[in-house]
Amino acid sequence: MIRVLNLMLCMAVSASAAFAQSLENTAHARQIDQLALEQLKQIGQNRRPGIDDYAFCRRVYLDAIGRIPTIDELDSFIADQQPEKRARLVDKLLNSKGYSSHWHNYWADLLRVKYVGDKLHHPGNYSEWIKESLRGNKPYDQMAHELINASGELYKPGNGATGFYAREPMPLDHLANSVKTFLGLSIECAQCHDHPFDDWTQKDFYKLAAFSSKTHLRVDPTPTVEKKTYARDRKILKNKDFDEWIVYRESIRVKHAAIYGNGTGFMRLPHDYQYDDGEPFEAMEADVLFGDMPKVNHKLTKAELDALKNHHFGPEINARQSLADWMTSPDNPMFTKSIVNRMWHQVMGAELAGPLGALTQEEMGDHPALTQKLIEIMKALDYDLKAFLSVLFNSRTYQSKALALNADAPKYILDGPIVRRLSAEAIVDSFLSLKTETPDRYVATEFKWDGFTNFYEKSQKMGVKDFVSYSINGPGRGAFQKREERAAKRRNGATGPEHLWRVSSYGHVDGNHEVAMLMGKSDRDLIDGANKEPDIPQILFLMNGDLEHEITTQPKAFIHRKLDSVSDPAKRMEIIWKAILSRLPKESEKPLFSNDQDDLIWALLNSNEFKFVR
């Protein structure tokens, strides 16, 4: 009885906390709307019309979970007569499996999750870290801090944040990437020379690099461990058999590959430093680009270090953590400005404060008060991304007709979304909404093993004799990774048929998602590397591929089954329109009735309306 009472009390407390939060969020949303209204008044423009339930449903499914609603989901929302149905849908979607699937694509693009053969960089653990963070709604500042300060073994389950450093182990490039990713600033030019446009000098760059100096990726065991444990057998195998030697080397790397070093607080200028204000190899003490300097516990002075030889950078003093503290602090104006800029851009389609990777400290965009308000909201929400998205989705601003930006369009003042193309993954996942009534069915809800994390776990119990035996008795160089991947797959259990997976379920071992690549999916060589442009191979696929065939003529396909039971042409058209465009046919479209079903489906799938957000 007490337990039941306790449970009820807990539920009541969390319900009231949730209620309080949702009241607060509503207040935030109203503030955004108020600012938009003020701006519109100023330029004498009318507010945009709101969108009906059909348009809202399509929009929020796409923006919250990255796919269009199935026809059943749409019908169910339209039929819902209960109050606050839009707010309830927002809540439902943000707490559904689709959320982690959709936003994984976003973060994986930003963090460039990719297999890089040279450094044995298998991205599975990195990808799982993102998914776990999303599933648990980890606050964004915590995510960023973990990525910047990650250390230790690459393939240890749960330690996937190390993938960020491993992805770009050249320290100066990595620094430039981190600054672009989390602060929205482009400082990469300053790595080699004083920045041509901005204020950053090469010296500034090196001082910033000093926080994390000596941090490095090492894929092989440390020299001590190597000498004590592996060296003898490695030499034997090298002279015996190439395949066995490779398997020995690669399998040991899975166990030992790690990020080492927590930063010494000192960097040295490069050998070719060309300016008058410093000498080649001169020691630079850690300093931030702007704002308050975080605490750094130096054990040496600059003068003492300058007196030592060039390869000395001082002892490690955990300076990298200070860098992470500075970068992710609520007091760092660029940190919050960058994330609100990105989130607004994702949801509204337009930049808020400036280009995603090239902001400036001064620039607050076309509506500075709005930018400032959003920064305040993000801080008030303690960087809870779901809560922030909820605020945006619940605003009247979001729930208004999308503006087509053109020379003759009304002036755009960030008063709502703009017309833009869906991402490659959203297009592909939307095809899934047509093929099956449960498109999110196979989205994982817990950690998935891959060949490397699974082998890492096994290897904890493996001594050198086991590694030797593994190399000699194994299936050889080409097959050992495959074998470990198969073992991991078995461990994961049933994951469903691939043709019913969402794009985020494809891991490195599943190969490139060909259709998503055609649609412009990022190959993750660059931050924000996706493109939404048309090209001939993409259009040829859409026109002449088997898309509508897959969706309509496969007897098991969801839409096929829906249409099969219906004979009235008007009703059929309604089903096709609702399923693909998430709306009812207009009066003016009724003449299209007379066309064959598969022709209508083909045309809708190829239409701009399907590919774009309105």
């Binding site: 493109n531 048309p534 090209d535 191979p537 066309n595 809708l604 190829n606 590919k611």
Partner: protein
């Protein structure tokens, strides 16, 4: 011989030398071709290991016995033995060879083919000017708009993916579909038309034009003349070379053909011969094909690889990577055919005379087409990049 039209040149660009070539065929051997088992026999016997030296039909040019057919075509080829790269691993090595830049995560550079495509494409062209044949990654446009990336042809029998109407759809039905699509898009354009929606409408038009272009049959090897077909064997690489020849005949400026698998760290002499035979036969056939069609004078054929292999054979009977002194070939377009350019030291350890950096190699290819290698473009963030980085054209490669 077809008349040569000058490529479209920006008035501001300098080095407007009359071009040597109209088109380039780049046979890319990914994995690292072993130069001491192919075309660089000018080293100590021990370096050549199990290869045997045979004479060719060009005085002073000797090749490995793994290339007997090419030995009879060396009068058309220029052997460059002094290639040098600063990259010794495959991804970075290939990137450097393709783009002339070291890979950096702040930007993706366009491949040489994309530069040439962008620089030379005119309104009149009915085929894209950058085509990539083979299973490797097609040529990236880097920071250029996607339209300059290579058109991929994964294999010669399939041709271009989806270029024909779906089998289930006849012409009438297809027309009907396009009609419905037009109507839907027209309607959507009223309220929601933007530059991007219009770009889609334009690209659909362009794709239809491409489908119906009479030049599409350029990709159909079934249409090639019997006497040309008889020059080639049935290997996929040979057929890819034939397709490349067909495409340059139709005016395509840059065709890349990839033949991979050269990365023999072990059992080199067990595994090299079959791959060598593919190159041996395919390249020979291509040179004859181009000759017979009168295209050799206007086509620069380039055989390249990302780096070479070591002078010493390792304990696993293979050779490891070696970027300091490796070999590439050129033919056609007035190169100094039947000769050797540059050398390595006799012990095969490094490039010696007339060292040619990868960036210079690429600069020379561009220069041969009449493009100034110092031609510059800006990335989206306003950073300037040159077509061949700091490379300079090596005019000495041409007669």
């Amino acid at each position: 011989m077809t008349g040569m039209s000058l490529p479209f040149l920006n008035a501001a660009s300098a080095a407007a030398q009359a071009p040597k070539a109209r088109s380039v065929i780049n046979i890319f051997l990914s994995g690292g071709l072993s130069q001491y088992d192919s075309f660089n026999m000018e080293v100590d016997k021990a370096v050549i290991a199990k290869s045997r030296i045979i004479k060719s039909n060009a005085d002073g040019v000797r090749v490995s016995h793994y290339f007997p057919t090419l030995a009879q075509q060396m009068d058309k080829l220029l052997v460059i033995n002094s290639m040098k790269s600063n990259q010794g691993a495959h991804p970075a090595g290939i990137y450097k060879m393709m783009t002339s830049y070291n890979p950096r995560s702040s930007i993706t550079h366009p491949e040489l083919g994309a530069w040439i495509n962008k620089r030379m494409t005119t309104e009149r062209d009915s085929l894209p000017n950058f085509v990539s044949i083979g299973k490797g990654s097609a040529g990236t446009a880097g920071f250029f708009p996607g339209q300059w990336a290579a058109l991929p042809v994964k294999n010669t029998s399939a041709g271009i993916d989806f270029v024909k109407r779906n089998a289930a759809v006849d012409e009438g039905k297809f027309k009907k579909r396009l009609g419905i699509l037009d109507s839907l898009n027209g309607d959507f354009d009223q309220d929601y038309g933007t530059k991007d929606t219009r770009a889609y409408v334009d690209t659909y038009k362009g794709s239809l034009k491409f489908m119906n272009s009479k030049d599409i049959d350029a990709f159909d090897l079934e249409k090639e003349n019997e006497h040309i077909v008889s020059l080639y064997d049935r290997q996929e690489f040979s057929r890819s070379c034939m397709l490349a020849g067909r495409l340059v005949e139709r005016g395509v400026r840059f065709v890349k053909v990839e033949l991979g698998g050269w990365d023999y760290h072990d059992d080199l002499y067990g595994r090299l011969p079959s791959n060598a035979s593919k190159l041996d036969k395919g390249l020979s056939s291509l040179l004859t094909h181009l000759s017979q069609k009168g295209l050799l004078d206007s086509t620069l054929v380039v055989v390249s690889t990302e780096f070479g292999r070591k002078p010493g054979v390792n304990p696993n009977k293979g050779r490891d990577h070696h970027p300091d002194g490796f070999t590439c070939l050129m033919a056609g377009a007035g190169v100094k055919a039947g000769q050797i350019y540059g050398s390595t030291t006799k012990d095969g350890q490094s490039a010696a005379d007339n060292v040619l950096d990868v960036t210079d190699f690429n600069a020379t290819i561009a220069w041969s087409l009449g493009i100034d290698p110092a031609y510059e473009e800006m990335s989206a963030s306003g950073r300037p990049f040159k077509l061949a980085n700091k490379g300079e054209a090596r005019e000495a490669l041409f007669a």
